[in-house]
């Protein structure tokens, strides 16, 4: 193939055919009307039923991780709550999966599927724990694996956290393609898919989401068994939306219909995710609003034609915390509970500490993941790096922290709080994105119903929005 066929525009124009070969899913089959899409049918027909997912994950030692009661953190929360308040906090220790995070669940089905269909290898585009997960699963199944990472800025400097994630992929036998900052990572991903004919182990395929259902299911069934009640709330760290979607689906499959699904992200507002200069000013490389917001309000910006991660279908609340609060929570987990884990996994723990204060003391709140830790992937590594990038690190009121300028670590646990986002605003913003470039006259009833399901509202909410839009 000539180099001419590989220009940015030429390759991105071939996106759909490359994707079809690399995933083998005909997404058109699930389309209805102008923009409508039968999401449940896709999950049913392409994904795997829960029992089958459990079986496949057990083949490679994925899942069945401990659900640990945070006795000392709960006691601390109660000491600063109103009488009768302060829910029991549990943490699902997902770091104990083979690759060190819950992402092993997501990779398990993709790599299984790739092997079953005779692909030689798998490719994943990720700078996160998912790379290690795909590499680990590929190693167990004797398959080849390429991980494409956004790693360095134009000075060649990379966050220690991402460099560690690259190292572990190599340690698990993967080829790691490290790129500088920019959305064209997707272009390089397509080039590699086309060249290698490998399977697209996307985070956002039905396999990538169905794999997480076991996590929600394990939490719900174990809480019911041990505490005799449904969890009052499950908090999931939110970035691309898969974690929230898959966990919520699993909780529903365990018939916990009253459990509140709370998504939590680190607030990185003000930093531009595609900016070369901002790239190394953040102290969290995932679980932040830079992914959280855009994916919440427009899931189909992903590396598959139709994203199986659709958080607005499931969430009851979306909260953010500061970077300082998350480092503080991570330290609490180590020093009060004796469990040393990586910082990104502590995002939902930070939120749980604030939210448990609102709940009754006979209720249970679950933090649904931890991640492994190690050189580079530790609060000390990230904060040392932050200081070198000119970011101020100090103790104080965490609300004074400014992403890219300062990380303010609380002086006392009473300073931990969450900021709630107005979900209706997120819903409206979703509708705006979904209806961009759509002739509203072509919409049929199924389109409206689809949009209503997407944002968990009735169709009158959607109709009202469209009427306002037209006027």
């Amino acid at each position: 193939m000539s180099r001419a066929g590989k220009s940015y525009d030429e390759v991105t124009q071939r996106k759909n055919e490359i994707m079809k070969d690399a995933l083998g899913i005909d997404y058109d089959r699930f389309s209805i009307g102008t923009i409508g899409f039968d999401y449940e049918k896709m999950m049913e027909e392409v994904g795997y039923p829960l029992e089958e997912t459990i079986r496949i994950q057990r083949e490679t030692g994925v899942g069945q991780t401990p659900l640990v009661e945070m006795k000392n953190i709960t006691k601390l929360v109660r000491s600063m709550s109103e009488p009768g308040k302060g829910a029991t906090i549990l943490v699902k220790d997902e770091a104990q999966n083979p690759s060190g995070s819950f992402k092993a669940r997501r990779a398990a089905l993709s790599v299984y599927e790739a092997q079953k269909r005779g692909y030689e290898g798998v490719i994943a585009a990720t700078s996160g724990n998912y790379g290690a997960a795909v590499a680990s699963q590929a190693a167990m199944r004797g398959m080849k694996c390429i991980v494409v990472q956004e790693t360095h800025d134009s000075r060649g400097v990379g966050q220690p956290e991402i460099l560690e994630k690259g190292r572990i992929c190599e340690a698990l036998g993967a080829e790691v393609v490290q790129l500088t900052v920019g959305p064209e990572l997707f272009y390089q991903f397509l080039v590699l898919l086309e060249e290698t004919k490998f399977f697209n182990a996307s985070l956002y395929s039905p396999y990538g989401i169905a794999g997480i259902e076991t996590l929600g299911y394990e939490i719900a069934t174990e809480v019911k068994e041990r505490y005799g009640k449904e969890p009052a709330a499950v908090i999931t760290t939110h970035a691309g939306g898969g974690n929230v979607t898959g966990t919520a689906r699993g909780i529903k499959k365990a018939h916990c219909d009253n459990t509140k699904i709370i998504a939590a992200s680190v607030d990185l507002s003000g930093l531009h995710m595609a900016s070369d200069k901002d790239f190394n000013k953040k102290s969290f490389t995932t679980g932040h609003t830079g992914f959280g917001m855009p994916f919440m309000t427009w899931p189909d910006r992903s590396d598959v034609p139709k994203n199986a991660a659709r958080p607005l279908r499931y969430i009851d609340r979306y909260v953010t915390m500061t970077q300082g609060e998350v480092f503080y929570a991570c330290e609490m987990l180590a020093q009060l509970e004796g469990i040393e884990r990586g910082p990104a996994g502590s995002i939902s723990l930070a939120a749980a500490i604030a939210i448990a204060k609102e709940l009754n003391d006979d209720e249970v709140i679950v933090v649904q993941e931890t991640e492994y830790t190690g050189a580079g992937k530790h609060p000390t590594a990230q904060l040392t790096f932050a200081t070198k990038q000119g970011i101020e690190v100090r103790r104080g009121n965490p609300e004074e922290g400014i992403p890219g300028k300062s990380v303010v670590i609380p002086e006392k646990p009473e300073q931990m709080s969450v900021k709630d986002y107005d979900i209706d605003k997120l819903r409206t913003s979703y509708l705006k994105n979904a209806l961009k470039d759509v002739d509203i006259k072509t919409l049929i009833k199924e389109d409206i119903d689809y949009l209503a399901e997407e944002i968990r509202k009735d169709s009158s909410f959607v109709k009202e929005y469209i009427e306002k839009m037209g006027s």
Binding site: S7, Y8, K75, L76, S79, K144, C145, I146, T151, H152, S154, G158, P160, L163, E164, R167, E170, G173, A174, E175, V176, V177, Q178, L179, T180, V181, G182, P183, E184, Y187, Q188, T196, H272, A274, S275, D276, K277, F327, Y328, E331, M332, A334, Q335, L336, A375, G376, H378, P379, T380, A381, Q382, L383, T384, F385, V393, R394, R395, I409, K412, P413
Partner: protein
């Protein structure tokens, strides 16, 4: 510096020149090329700075400029962070005041 065939090395290549990059990029990103770094086994004796071919861990052969012989992982746990060091004792003095009161 001469690097022998078979050594574990890192190469560097430009994937997209500034003129070839996507539209709608922030100004600072637009001004720099999209670069790639990959590690693998060197397929011929070469000097740092020369264009070479490597074989990656999965057997793919790719080309680029030889940049590092035997690239080491340079990240670590960082320096002790004073802002983190006292958090444990602060909290334990609240929960177990008898044992930890001297640390208040």
């Amino acid at each position: 510096m001469e690097v022998k065939k078979g050594k574990w090395v890192e190469i560097h290549d430009i994937i997209l020149q500034t003129s070839q990059r996507a539209h709608h990029l922030p100004e600072d990103t637009k001004q720099v090329p999209l670069e790639m770094r990959v590690k693998g086994f060197l397929l011929q004796d070469a000097k740092v700075g020369e264009r070479v071919k490597i074989r990656t861990l999965i057997g793919r052969v790719i080309e680029g400029e030889l940049t590092i012989d035997n690239p080491r992982h340079e990240f670590d746990y960082g320096e002790p962070v004073p802002e983190l060091l006292t958090i444990g004792t602060e909290l334990k003095s609240r929960l177990f005041s008898e044992r930890w009161k001297d640390h208040e």
